[in-house]
Symmetry: D3
Subunit: 327 residues, 6 copies
Amino acid sequence: MYDVVTVGEGMLRLSPPRYERIRRARTLDVQMCGSQGNVACNIARLGLKTAFVTKLPDHALGLLANDHYLGCGVDTSHIQFIPGARLGVNYIEFGATPRASTVVYDRKHSAASTIAPGDFDWDEILKDARLAYTDGIFPGLSSTCRQAAVEFIAAAKRNGCLVGFDVNYREHLWPAKEARDVLSGIIKNVDILITTQWDSEIVFGYRGSYEEIIRQFHRDFGCKIVGITLREVYDVLRGAWNTMVLHEGNILHGQKFEIDVIDRFGAGDSWGSGFLYGYLTSNDVEYAMNFGNALCALHHTIPGDVAHVTVKEVEALLNTQDFREKR
Amino acid sequence: MYDVVTVGEGMLRLSPPRYERIRRARTLDVQMCGSQGNVACNIARLGLKTAFVTKLPDHALGLLANDHYLGCGVDTSHIQFIPGARLGVNYIEFGATPRASTVVYDRKHSAASTIAPGDFDWDEILKDARLAYTDGIFPGLSSTCRQAAVEFIAAAKRNGCLVGFDVNYREHLWPAKEARDVLSGIIKNVDILITTQWDSEIVFGYRGSYEEIIRQFHRDFGCKIVGITLREVYDVLRGAWNTMVLHEGNILHGQKFEIDVIDRFGAGDSWGSGFLYGYLTSNDVEYAMNFGNALCALHHTIPGDVAHVTVKEVEALLNTQDFREKR
Amino acid sequence: MYDVVTVGEGMLRLSPPRYERIRRARTLDVQMCGSQGNVACNIARLGLKTAFVTKLPDHALGLLANDHYLGCGVDTSHIQFIPGARLGVNYIEFGATPRASTVVYDRKHSAASTIAPGDFDWDEILKDARLAYTDGIFPGLSSTCRQAAVEFIAAAKRNGCLVGFDVNYREHLWPAKEARDVLSGIIKNVDILITTQWDSEIVFGYRGSYEEIIRQFHRDFGCKIVGITLREVYDVLRGAWNTMVLHEGNILHGQKFEIDVIDRFGAGDSWGSGFLYGYLTSNDVEYAMNFGNALCALHHTIPGDVAHVTVKEVEALLNTQDFREKR
Amino acid sequence: MYDVVTVGEGMLRLSPPRYERIRRARTLDVQMCGSQGNVACNIARLGLKTAFVTKLPDHALGLLANDHYLGCGVDTSHIQFIPGARLGVNYIEFGATPRASTVVYDRKHSAASTIAPGDFDWDEILKDARLAYTDGIFPGLSSTCRQAAVEFIAAAKRNGCLVGFDVNYREHLWPAKEARDVLSGIIKNVDILITTQWDSEIVFGYRGSYEEIIRQFHRDFGCKIVGITLREVYDVLRGAWNTMVLHEGNILHGQKFEIDVIDRFGAGDSWGSGFLYGYLTSNDVEYAMNFGNALCALHHTIPGDVAHVTVKEVEALLNTQDFREKR
Amino acid sequence: MYDVVTVGEGMLRLSPPRYERIRRARTLDVQMCGSQGNVACNIARLGLKTAFVTKLPDHALGLLANDHYLGCGVDTSHIQFIPGARLGVNYIEFGATPRASTVVYDRKHSAASTIAPGDFDWDEILKDARLAYTDGIFPGLSSTCRQAAVEFIAAAKRNGCLVGFDVNYREHLWPAKEARDVLSGIIKNVDILITTQWDSEIVFGYRGSYEEIIRQFHRDFGCKIVGITLREVYDVLRGAWNTMVLHEGNILHGQKFEIDVIDRFGAGDSWGSGFLYGYLTSNDVEYAMNFGNALCALHHTIPGDVAHVTVKEVEALLNTQDFREKR
Amino acid sequence: MYDVVTVGEGMLRLSPPRYERIRRARTLDVQMCGSQGNVACNIARLGLKTAFVTKLPDHALGLLANDHYLGCGVDTSHIQFIPGARLGVNYIEFGATPRASTVVYDRKHSAASTIAPGDFDWDEILKDARLAYTDGIFPGLSSTCRQAAVEFIAAAKRNGCLVGFDVNYREHLWPAKEARDVLSGIIKNVDILITTQWDSEIVFGYRGSYEEIIRQFHRDFGCKIVGITLREVYDVLRGAWNTMVLHEGNILHGQKFEIDVIDRFGAGDSWGSGFLYGYLTSNDVEYAMNFGNALCALHHTIPGDVAHVTVKEVEALLNTQDFREKR
C-alpha cells in the first residue's frame, strides 16, 4: 500500500535568524529534522505514498512533530505517542565565510531512542510496500533501536520490499568500530546503499577514488546499487553538488549543479529521496541519479530540512537552468 | 503642470521572507507593483512632478495602494475608487541558485482592467504635461484598456506631450500576434521606446544583434529614441546591467554595472524611469542612458518594485563605484 | 470510510499583525479560511477521518492551501487542481474597542466557484461516510455551485449519510431572497441545521425568541436537530459564547463560556465542528452541544480560522475552568 | 489654497514591540510623531488639503520623515532640509497595568529647533489658507521658534486665516512660568483653543471644574472656541474619552467613548484634528466636537501617532457602536 | 563579598509569539528561566551583588545561558561548563481566557541535575556573603542535587549567612511525600521561608487560613520569617497580587496590586527577590513585603522570567499608581 | 585588577533589516556601537577582565547601553549616569553591490561628550591594570574629552600600564589638521598603535607603501608596536582581511582571510581587540597579529559591532579553514 516506509527519529530543529549566533538569540525559527523522516517527507512531496514510523512524546511538541509530517503528506498513523518522553532537539547556527555553520545536538533520552523490537507490527505496515528505508543513525540511537533496525529490515525482506539505506555515520552517537560491526550486518540486506567518502573511510576504512569506494561496497556487501555524494564546498555560502552511482558493475557520472547555500541541512537526504523516487517511478538509474542531483540542488535554496519541491520543478531544472525569474 | 503622467494598473505584491517558498509562507511582505505606477513613483522620487492614473477598489486595499503612491510623492488625485472591484495581486517567491524566483499572477477582473475610454478627462490631466507614459501591459489588460490606451496617447499627442512606451509583453495577458497588432498602432505615436531582445523577437519577430533590433524599430515605426536593455544573468543572485540606445541614427553604448540581486522586480521600469528623468532634465541622451543604468543597478539592491533613490545617490554612483561604507 | 466529508471553498486569509490597519501593512500573516474546510480541519484535529472536496488553482497558492488541509490531517486526495484558476483571498484587519475587526473579500472568479455538477464522483467519495457537510456559502458562490450543492446532498442521502448544514448567509454573495429560495430546497434534506438569529431573520424572516426561531426551522423543514448560536459581544476584545439546541422537540440550554477574543474568525465553524464530533462519537446531543461550546471558546484564543485543539483539551475545559498556568 | 497649514517639529518615534522594555529591546518599531505634523496628517487623511512646515536634517532620516508626511497626503513642499542637522527622537515603552507607558525624549538640537523668523515666506504659504495651526510645544523648542511662532500667527491673522492652537505644555522644554508668558501673548490671537485640565492649572493656574476652566480662557483671552479634553484612565489598557467645548458662551457636552488602549500617543492631536475637520466642513461646533471624539477613540486602537481613518469610518462610529466584525 | 548567592538550575525558555499554539509554532521567543537564577538576576537588577552557581553544558546554549545571567549583572564566575551535557528546556504556550497558559518541561538529564556534593567550594563562595538562597526545586532535580542542597545550606549557616528558601514544589520532579521528607530537613535551617497555599497543603498537609498556614511553618520549623503569596486569578489575562508575612509572631498584611497578565512566569520569584532585597537593605519586613508586591506586579507586565526593573521604579509604584504615560 | 580599561563613548546602533533603506524602515534592529566599548566587549568575550568607562544618560537608553556592556562581561561600575543627557545614535543602512552601506551619525551633545578632566579617579581605576586603551574618536568628541584623553593616558603611564591607541580619524568630528595636533601629543605616549592607510595619509600626510607608513609612525612617535590594516573590498558583500605589524624594527606579515561581509561595522576594533588579547596573553606579536586577523574575519559574519567569539573558535580558525558545517 505504501511506496516507501521509513523508520527512525524526528527532531525539533531550532535556529536563530540567518547569521545570528545562538548565544545571542532572542528568537528561534522552528523546523523539524531527522534523516528518515526527511526522506518520507521529500518523497511524499513528490507524490508517492509514504509512511514514517517513530515514537513521539505525548505532549505539544509531539503534536508539532506529527503535524509537520502530516503537512508534507506523510502517513503518520503508525506513530506512537509516549507519555513522559522527550523530543530530541537540534540547534543550528548558520554561518558565512569563514565561520562554518554549527549544530548542537540535544537528542539523548528521546522517545524515538526507546523504539524496541516488537513495538510495531512490521508485517502489517510493510505489506505491499515497495521500499523500506532507514539509515545508520537509527541503530546508533540505542541498543533497542539497533535490534529494531535489524527487525525492520528482516521484515522488509520477508515482505518483498526493496531496502534503501544511507550509511550516515554520526560520531556523537557511537564509535566507528561499533558502527562498523552493526552496519556490516545490516548492509548485507541492502539493495540501494548511499554513502559519502568520509563515512566510507571512517567506518569501513575504504580509501581511494570515489569509484574504488563504491566498488568496495559492492564487493564486500553485494549491494545492487551504491551511490556516493560528491559535494564541493567553495566556501560557506557557495558550492556544487554531484553524485556517482554504481549499478550492475557500471559507474554512472551525474550532472553537476552550482548552488547558493541557503540551508544545506538535510541535503544528503534530499539526494537519496530524489534517487529513490526516480528509481521507483522510472526504474532508470541514471535518471534517478540526476533527479536526485537536481532535487538536492533545489533543496540548498530552501529553508528547512525538507525539499518542498514538486516533480515538475525538478524536471524543469533537469531540462534547463534558467536563472531568470519565471513569470 | 505634471512632468510625467502614467496610466495603468497597480497591484499588491506579496512575498514570503527571502528564500522561503510561497507554499510554506506564514507571513508575507507587502509591496506594490505594476510598471506604470512604478515609473510614476521612481520619477517622483527623483523630484519631478508625476501623476498616476488608474482605478482602485473602494476598500482598504485600495487605500493601501493609494497610500503607496502618495508616499512616493505621486499625485493620486485622478485615481478613481470603484465599489465592488478588486485589486490585482502578484505573489513573488525569491530564489537562489539554481532556483529562479517566480511570480504568480492573480490580476484578472481587477478594477484597473475596467478602465475604458471616456473614464478620464485626458485633456485636463495632460494639459501642460511634458511626457505621457504607458506600456504594453496596459492595453493587454482588456479590450476597454486597449481603447483607453489609444485614447490616452492620442490625447498626449494633441496636448504636445512627448510619449514614452515600454513594449513589456506579457504572455499571460494576450497572444503575441494580438499584441503585435495593437502595439504596432500605438508605437507609431511613440517618441521614446523601450524594449528587450526577447520582447522584440517574440512580438515583432525582430532578430539579430541588439543594434539591428533597435534600428528595425526606428525603421518600422519612426521612434525618435529606442532603448534596449542588456541584462547579464550570472546566476540567481549575481549579474550585470547595461543598455544601448539609438538616437538620431547613432548607437550609444552605456556604462555597465555589476550587481548583487536583492530584488530585481521592477528593474526594467527603473531604467526607463531613470532614462526619462535624465532626458527631461538634461536633454542629453547619453547622460539619460547612464543615469538609467545607475538607477537600475541601485534598484536591484532595494526591496520592492520602486527605486527609493535620490538624484544625488545616482550621480554619486555614476562618478565613482566605492563599495566601502559611507560614514 | 470517512466520518465526515465537506465540500466548498478554501481561501487564503491574510492579516496585518494585530491592530495594524490594512492600509498601513508592510507584512501580512498567512492563514487559510473557508467554513467547509474549517469544519473538515477541526474534526480531523479531534481525531475523526475527514475529507475536504474542492478545486484549487494549479500553482504555488494551491499547494499552500493543500498543505494547510493536509497539515490538519484532512484527506485532500479528491481536491482538483485547475490550471489558470485563482484562489480567493480574505483580508482581515483586527480591531480593538471601539474599532471592530473588518474583512475585505476578494473571492470572485475563484477555482472553487467553478465547481459544477459531475465534477466529483460523489457516490465513490461518500460511500460508507457517516456525515456530509456543507453550508449556505457554497451554493452562493455561483450557479454551478448551487447545482453541485444539490447534487452533493442528494448523493449523501442516497448513500445513507447524515446531512449537516450551516445557514451561513453572506450578503456579498447573493440577495436574501435568492438565498431563501435555494436554501429552502436544500434544508428539507438536512438532519442537523446550524443557524444564528441574524441569518434566520434576514433569510427566512423568522423573528422572536431563540427558542421560537429553532422551532420554526423544525416546523418548516423538519430538521431533526437545530442549533442556534448565542454570542454575547461585550466589546471588541471580550465576550461570551453559548448555544441552544432543539432535539426531538426538546430545547436544550448549553453551558456558557466567558472569552478573550484573540481571533474570532471561524468560531461558528468551530461550534458546528465540535457539535458534529460530539454527536458522531456519543450520540448525546447535550454533550455534543457543550463540547461545541468549549471548543468554540478555545477557538477564540487561537490565531487562525481552525481550532487546533485536542479532545482531551476540550474535555478538560468542560470539567473545570482553571485559569492558572498548567505545569 | 490649503485648508490647514501647521508648523512645528516632526520626530522619529521608536518603540520595542508591545510590552517589551526599552532596556531589553533588540528591535524597534518605527513611527513619526510630533503634534503639529500629526494634525496635518490626520486632517489630510480626512480629505482636506494640508501642509506641514518644518525643517528636517538633510540625510536619510530626513527623507524618512518627509516620506511619512507625503504618505499621509500632506504637502511637504515647504519643508527645508538642513545639512548637518539632526532629527529629534522619542523612545516609547508600552506598559500594562500597573506599569504605565513611558517616553524618553531625545529632541534637543534638532533641525526644527533652528526654525527662526524669516525662514519661511508665510504670506505665500498662508495665502488663501483657511486655518493656521500650531501649539505650545513649538514655541518651547527654542527662542527662535518662539519668535517664529509669533511671526506665523501674525501672518495667519494678516491673511484672514482662523488660528487653532493646543496649549500642549511640556515640562521638559520650559518652566511653566516662561510658558505662561509666551503663550499668553499668542493665545490672544487664537480662535480655537484646545487644552487639558492639567495644562490649564500648571501653566495658567486655572482651577475648578472643566466648565470653569474653559470659561476662564474665554474671559482672559477672548478665544471664540475653547475645547477641553476629558480623559478617563481606568487602568493602563482601558479608558474612556470625552470633551467639553465652550462656544459663544454655551457649554457643549460631547459623546463619550469606551476604549481599549492600543496606542494612545497622539490621541489629543486626533481630537483636535477631528474637531478642526468637523468645524471647517460643517461650521457646526457640536458635530465637530463629537467627530473629534470618535476619531480620537479610533486613534487609540491604531499603532502610531496618526489616526489613519476615513471620514466614513468616523461617521459610522458616530451613528452606531457595533463591536462585531464587519464583513 | 556577595549580598546574595543562589544555586540551582537555569533553563532555556522557548515560547511562540503570544497566543500561538506550540504545535503551530514557526518561530520561538528565547528567554531563560529557573527560579534560583531568576532570583539572582532580579536582585542584581536592583543593585545588590549576586552570584548564581550552577552547571551548564559546554556548547553554544551554555554560552547563551551564561550571557543571560551576565547581562543581568550576576556574577557567573563559579558556573562550571560540562562537556557533553544538556541544558534543560521549558516550552511555554501563552493562553487567553478560557485557555490557560501551559508549560512543557524537557529538563531531565540536564547539566545542573549532575550537581553533586564537593562540586563547589562553598566556604570560598559564601565567605562574607549575606544571604544564601535556593528552593524546593533544586533538591528535586536528582539525588546528588539533594545532597548538594544540604551541603550548601550547611555551609551557609557555617559562614553566618541568612538562609532564604522557597518551597516551590514541582509534581513532575518528585512525589509530595519524598519532597516533604527532604524539605523538612532543610527548612529547619531556613531563616526566610516563602510558600503558597497549594505547596503548603500538598507537601506538608497544612490546611486552614493563610494565617494558620504560616503559623504552622513557624511552629514546626522555627523559621524567623514566613511569607505566603495571595494570588487572585480573575481570568487568564487579569488578576491581583498580594502577600502576607509572619514576623516575630506578628502577621503583616501587604498592599494589593491589580495587574494585566502579560507574562506571569517567574512572578513568585520576583516577589521573593523583592522581599529579600527590601529586607537586606532596610531590615524592615513590612517595607520588604510591599517592595516585593510592587516588583511582582511590575513583573507581570514584562516579557520573560526576570523583572528588569530598577529600585526607583518599584518605589515610584509604591508611592502612587498612575496609569497615565510618563513623559 | 583589570587587564584592559577603555574610555570613550557608547552609541545606540539602529538599522533596518538587511538591505531595506532607512527611509523605508518600519522596524529597526538594535545594537550598541562605539569603538572603545567594542574593544572592552571583545576582550571580555575572550576571557580577560575589562572595564569600560563612560557617561550615559540617566534614562532607559542608558540602562540599555549599560546592559549591553554587562552582557558582554565588561565591568560597568565606573560608568556615570547623567540626568538630562542624551545617548548618541548611529543609523546604519546595509547595502549590496553597487550600493555601499551608509552610516548616519546623530552623536552630538551626548552624555559621553561631556566627559571632562577630573570626572573619574583614574589612579583608582587603572591601579594594577595591564593596558589602557582609547582612540582618536574620543578626543574628537569635545574639548573636554580632548583634555580627559590626555589625563587618562598620563594616568596610565603613571600607573605602569601599556597604552593602546587606534588613530580612528572621523571627518565628521574635527578637521584633519586639528586631529593631527592633538593626536601627535597623545601618540608619543602610545606603546601599541593601530592605523589604516587612509587615516595615516589624511591626518599625518604619510604616503607610500604600508611598510613605509608604519615605519614613519615608529620614527616620528617611537611607538613600540605599529599595526596597519590591509582590507580588500571585492564588492559590497565580499572581501578579504589582513594586517601588517612593525615590532622592534621587524615587519611581520599576517595570514589573510577571505570573508562574506554580513556586518563589517566594528571590524577594525575586532582586529585591535584580538591583537591586544593575543599580545597580553602570549607576548608573541606574530600570534597576536594573526589572532586579530582570525577574530576580525569571524566578526564580519556576525550581526552587530561586537565579535561574540570565544578563544577556542579563533584558534580553530587559525588551525584550519573548514567551511563544512560542524556537527
